[in-house]
Symmetry: C2
Subunit: 347 residues, 2 copies
Amino acid sequence: MPRSPAPTSADIRKVAQEAGVSIATVSRVLNNPQRVSAATRERVLEAAARLGYRPNPLGQRLRKGRAETVGVVIPAPQGRFADSFFLELLAGLGEGLSGAGLDLLVTTSPPGPQELASYQRLVEGKRVDGLVLARTRQRDERILYLLEHKVPFVVHGRSDLIHEPFPYLDIDGERGFRQAAQHLIALGHRAVAFIGAPHELNFAQHRLAGYRRALEEAGLPLRREWVLEGDLSEESGYRLTLALLDLPRPPTAILCANDLMALGALRALRERGLKAGQEVSVIGYDDIPQAHYTDPPLSTLHQPFREMGRRLVEMLLARLAGTPAEELQEIWVPELILRGSDGPPQS
Amino acid sequence: MPRSPAPTSADIRKVAQEAGVSIATVSRVLNNPQRVSAATRERVLEAAARLGYRPNPLGQRLRKGRAETVGVVIPAPQGRFADSFFLELLAGLGEGLSGAGLDLLVTTSPPGPQELASYQRLVEGKRVDGLVLARTRQRDERILYLLEHKVPFVVHGRSDLIHEPFPYLDIDGERGFRQAAQHLIALGHRAVAFIGAPHELNFAQHRLAGYRRALEEAGLPLRREWVLEGDLSEESGYRLTLALLDLPRPPTAILCANDLMALGALRALRERGLKAGQEVSVIGYDDIPQAHYTDPPLSTLHQPFREMGRRLVEMLLARLAGTPAEELQEIWVPELILRGSDGPPQS
DNA sequence: GCACGAGATGTAAACGTTTTCCATTACCCT
DNA sequence: AGGGTAATGGAAAACGTTTACATCTCGTGC
């Protein structure tokens, strides 16, 4: 009676025995095939296949001194759901990593000081070889920590108050919002408001700067009461838009630092009986799937999160291979997508 | 000049030397403290602290033959974002796991046959000790696969066509939708429609059954044209609601199998100039954060995803410790939250 | 006074790899 | 023929733990 292969129990020793070679040779066949003659290579591969051999990652990792794992800490706020853009990024990271045979270790943590503890656990506990960060702050303590501990990492976004070089991939938010504001101004708007992100977030500054620059270039004054700071939630977009509409001189166009807030803005307009894209224009940022389905469809700046995730993996692998940080800094150009929530001001 | 402790390089041998004991004793102090005398225990702990020693998980894992890791595969569809409820579940899982010192390995995969490959990689590659599944189908191949390979796992949701026992935690969707439908009927609705989930999803059946049962119990006929199947996206809720409104006899109330579709329903109503909660009632399922902020606020059935994540970890740990699957099956009762999108039918 | 058990510690083997040396063989060139 | 070199494969030492087993030291009961 033929024994069915017990695929779970084959180790390198069994394969070596089966192929009539030493375990060193088996290992070489798998890691360094050209170091071994074609004939024995064939023999070993056959034996391995016959036994259903898969190298045990635990042994490999100990021997190599690497965890073969990349870590991500997702900021998950207490009261509300984390932005689903993280899932999108995760998907991109996962695609890239599985290709490279690396694992993705995910932790969630409420944003704040406790966050750093998660990083410590991953780094000082030697659980990961590298990290991916997102949602950077202007002077991001996580980056400082990782730089200090010399842990390889890549960043989605920049951290403008840190001058030591580190690898990052960012979208040019200034350019994006400058373009968006220019577009609105070209349509004839003179009263363009801005609902920004929490000011400690790095991209908040860029997007604001793009807005200011466009106004400046057009010779329009910057009115303080038209520049508000939201918390990126739909609800805050809603609330702040109502506040804008209640001003003595309400704006005719609103730039929102993300789509979620733009959705809130659309809701506020609707509630006030104002037609978005006609009476008041709205432009968001991110291009979340929902943006297709609002009424009117939301004009926004596209961020290709999944692609960015894939690229971040490539950069991290390069970093792990020794590429200097300076050579791993990319800024992508966002794409302004006009769908209908923008339009010329009325009369 | 005092050398600062090089925290990254201390291994168990160094600690042993520093404390003047053997490495076995150091290990015992950490894993089995009562096996060693108070005096030496103290000495070892001090030495460990002085050197900043942290056991290297790679060594532990190899020795223990466990990856100390739990895996999750998130279905991330190509075109659109994955449901953010997964992030919420992830947060709950993470909280539970970090308490237990386990890592969370996350993979994403488009739903479908390729999904199983991800599971194989995790399981046959010995990368995880256990798994968490979610978004189950009626006869879920992933569960069959894991049962066959005798891998410990727990499930968020059930899989009704699988009769072998396995550990799960589910919300009683039938009861939830029965209650929701009863509520609408009690308000006076006689034309209650149902926008369901893809029928292969296990919970789709339960929610539908609850709806049918409530109608039956009230002696109301089940009209086929009022029972539709969506894909859980906002857009499909929108589209199907329009279809319902175009019927010769449109419903006065709509039950949606998730909140995202309910949001779409609200949008469709608004577009048709119908007041939700007055002219047409809508009830969703999940209680996503957005449900607070719709107009009117969305009535829905609450699912405590984060808590469920935490509980799932406890169950998985129990499972890993040998608790039989039969003792790890829980069904929680959902809570109907009335916010305003439901109301009596007009006239 | 002595065997005995309990308690505390040390020794060494294991976990499954990769990789550094060596040893052997074969080959080529002079 | 002899010596250098390349190709090939094996032996053994890591990697950092945990743990079975052996050893040693006491106190204790006889």
